[in-house]
Structures are given as structure tokens and as C-alpha cells.
Amino acid sequence: MDEDSSSISRVLSVGPVPDHIAFIMDGNRRYAKKRNLLDGAGHRSGYLALMNMLKYCYELGVKYATIYAFSIDNFRRRPEEVQSTMQLILEKIEDLIKEESMVNQYGVRIYFLGSLKLLSKPVRLAAERAMVATSGNSKSVLSICLAYTSSDEILHAVQECCGEKWDEGSALESKGAGNGLVFLKGNENGKIKPSIVVKDLEKHMYAAVAPDPDIIIRTSGETRLSNFLLWQSANCLLYAPPILWPEIGLWHLIWAVLDFQRNFSYLKEKTKLS
């Protein structure tokens, strides 16, 4: 990072620095159209912008970053586009785990969040390799949402909790304990003690590898969250600059952090109440 950015970083660090910033990288295709480039070129520019933003974040002391790389909804795009996006994702995952990449420079541990079973085998294997290769890193975290939606994440957590409760019940049954888990015997009054609580669900969320985000930045001026971190964004600042993702720069990050600092005590208070 250059001298100016370092100074800015030092100034911003005087106030509270967000722990976790999430990005919805919207606008790559529109950027390509605007510049009369091929679609793929928009995504490539987007990748460069991402690397810069992550560097600024980690330099500033933001420990966790999450990005919305590919939504389950995106599978509905034209097959050629899905294919080329997946190809690019595969390439970039390989780049990330190379020795000289930013990931090793900043000690970044990578997680992939989503229904990875929906991905093609090469991409899924590359994702798994990246998670293993970076498992020893502990300075920062990068969560990449791939084949992800919040509704799928919530459903998955519900599914896991139900499965867990059933397994617990079966284990107790086999030990002869019963313990009021009457679903196996069929009690006369048919009452079953509800036992899944919010904490159980949160344990099984894909995004449980990081604390809730402090800021979500979505480019292109779109004001929707598009099924991204809905569960985790209750007390999160939503920032929607009107620029396209490849046009994002340090100043947008500074603006977001200043806004966060301005609203810090309000947001902290809201977090305590919930």
C-alpha cells in the first residue's frame, strides 16, 4: 500500500475500525458494456478491484471480509455465461493459493460459504484445496460466498438442527434413557418439547466462521441485498455507492468506514439490545 493510503489508514484507525466488511460486487457486466469490452473482461477488472479492496481492508485492520461471488440465482443465467464465470472463478481460486499471492502476504484464511455440492467437480475441488492450503493462516479471513443465498443458508441450518436433534434423540433412545423424546414412542398427548433455539441455528450458518458484518457495500447503486447475509445484517450499515464494482476505490472504503465510525455507538447499542 502506498504512503498516502498508509497515512489515511493511520488516521482512520484513531476511531473504531470495523471488524468485518462484506461486498456485493455488482456491475462487472455493465462495466464491460460501458467500455465496449467482452463480458469476461468486466469480471477480470472486477477481480483486480477486489484484490485492491481486500488489501486496503486488511491494511486498515479489518480482520474479516466476505464477498458475494456467485449466487444460487446466478445459475439461472445463460449456460455460456455461467460456464465462463465458473472458469474464471476456478482460475482465480488457483491464483489465490499461489505462493506470492495477497493471501499469503496478509495471512488470509479462506472459507467458501454456500451449497458447494451445486458446483461442478473441478470448482468444488479447487475450493476445498484453497481452504486446506490456507487453514494455517490466522491473521485475516476471506469468506467467499459461492452457490450461496441466505434462504438456502437458513434452510441448511434448520436441516442440520433437525438432524442433530433426531440423532440426539436416537442416541438417548438406544441408551434406554427416553428422556421425554417421545417422538419415537408416540406419547398419548402427542406433545413434543421444542428444543431448537436461535443459538443452534447460528452454529450451523455457513457464515458462522466470522462475526456479523459491520458494513455491507453493494456497488451499482442497487438497494437490494439480493439474498446476501440477511440473517447476519440486523445491525449492519448498508452502503450503496452508485459506481460499478470495477470502479470502486479507496475513497469509497474510507467513506464507508467514516460512516460506520459516525454511527458506531448507535449500532453498538442496537447490537446489545438484540
Binding site: T149, S150, S151, I154, L155, V158, Q159, C161, C162, G163, K165, W166, F183, L184, G186, I192, P194, S195, I196, V197, V198, D200, L201, T223, R224, L225, S226, N227, L230, W231, S233, A234, N235, C236, L237, L238, Y239, A240, D259, N263, Y266, L267, K270, L273, S274
Partner: protein, 217 residues
Amino acid sequence: MVIDSEEAQELSKVLELLQWVADIGVKSVCLYDPEGVLKNNKEPIMQRFSSANLSEEAAVNGRLVTRRNLTLEFVSFEDGKEAVAKAANYLFVKHYANGTKEKSDFTEPQMAEALGAIGSGGAEPDLLLIYGPTRCHLGFPAWRLRYTEIVHMGPLKSMSYGSLVKAIFKYTMVHQNYETTDALVAVPSCGQKFEISFHSGISYQIKLQVCIGSFRV
């Protein structure tokens, strides 16, 4: 509408805002504040906007304004995460309680049905207006926020009718959903003033600047 709980205590402001929304012609409003202040004030709010008022008419600026029937829903933080936990228990009882572990994964429609069964169903809003100090949804139920447009309106105490109309109009233009506001737009020439009339009879004077290839108001 998401309203900061402290600001929501200004009941007169909330009522005024809802009156504006009703006048514009919005049919259904979901009122959310995390601590349930609005839920506690359900009675006076419902009284003001119940169907008993449907036939009430008032003359405004020589135009007849019919007070519309507004469907209101009151939501708070516990209708978010807690409701999903309750829905999970409902699904557990329904699909696991017979002693066999069902093989197939739960689907989104099943989840929606479960949420409805425990009393936290409800449609996804088209537009979420946030009245408070920051652009933050304060825990609005996640399941109902997936593709909702989120607009920060500023603090409740400085709310204005103009900003409300602007936000709804902007949404309408983006979504071409003329049914919501019945906005009629005559095609003007550049620089000319034109009028948008809502079915409630309220109209808004706007000067159009036409740019090549786009439409800017």
C-alpha cells in the same frame, strides 16, 4: 417500514406518515421496529386506519380524496430469528416425529409454510423505507427481505411528504409497476413541466430534463 424503536414512540409522527402512505394509495404496510413499540401501540394505529374509515371522504384543494383502507401488519425483532427457530421446531415435529428420518432436504415452500403456521408468515415487501439515523434494517425478518428495495429516509422527526413520494416514485419507475401508484405521465418535451397524478387525486409537478438514451426526472 422499519422505524427506529426510540423514534417510533412519537405516535403522532407515525400516524401522520401512515396517512401520507394511505393518501398515495399504497394498500398494505408492514410496520417494523425491533423492540415492538409499534406493536404495543397497535390499538390506536388500527383504530385510525380500520375499514370503518373507508367511507370517510374529505375535500382537499377542491379535489375529492377518499381515505383508503390500509392493511397493516405489526412486526418486531422476535418475528425474525426466533420465528425461524419456532419454524424449525414445527418442521422437526412434522417430518421427524414419526420416528423416521426423512431423506429429502427441506424446501423453501416448506419453510414458508412453517413460518405461516407459527404465525410469522407474510409477504416480502416490495419496498422497505427505513426511518432512523442509519441505513440499517435493524433485524427485519430475513426470510422476507431477499429482494426488497431498501431506502433510507432519515430520522422520523424530519420526515417529509416529498421524500416519501420521491422514494415510491423512484421504485415505481424502476419496476414499471404503475398499478401501485396509478401514475399517469404525459410525454412532454424537454424543459417542459408536467404533472403526475396519483389516483388519490394528489398531484406532483415535475420538470423533465430529457437526456439522449435515458430518462431523468
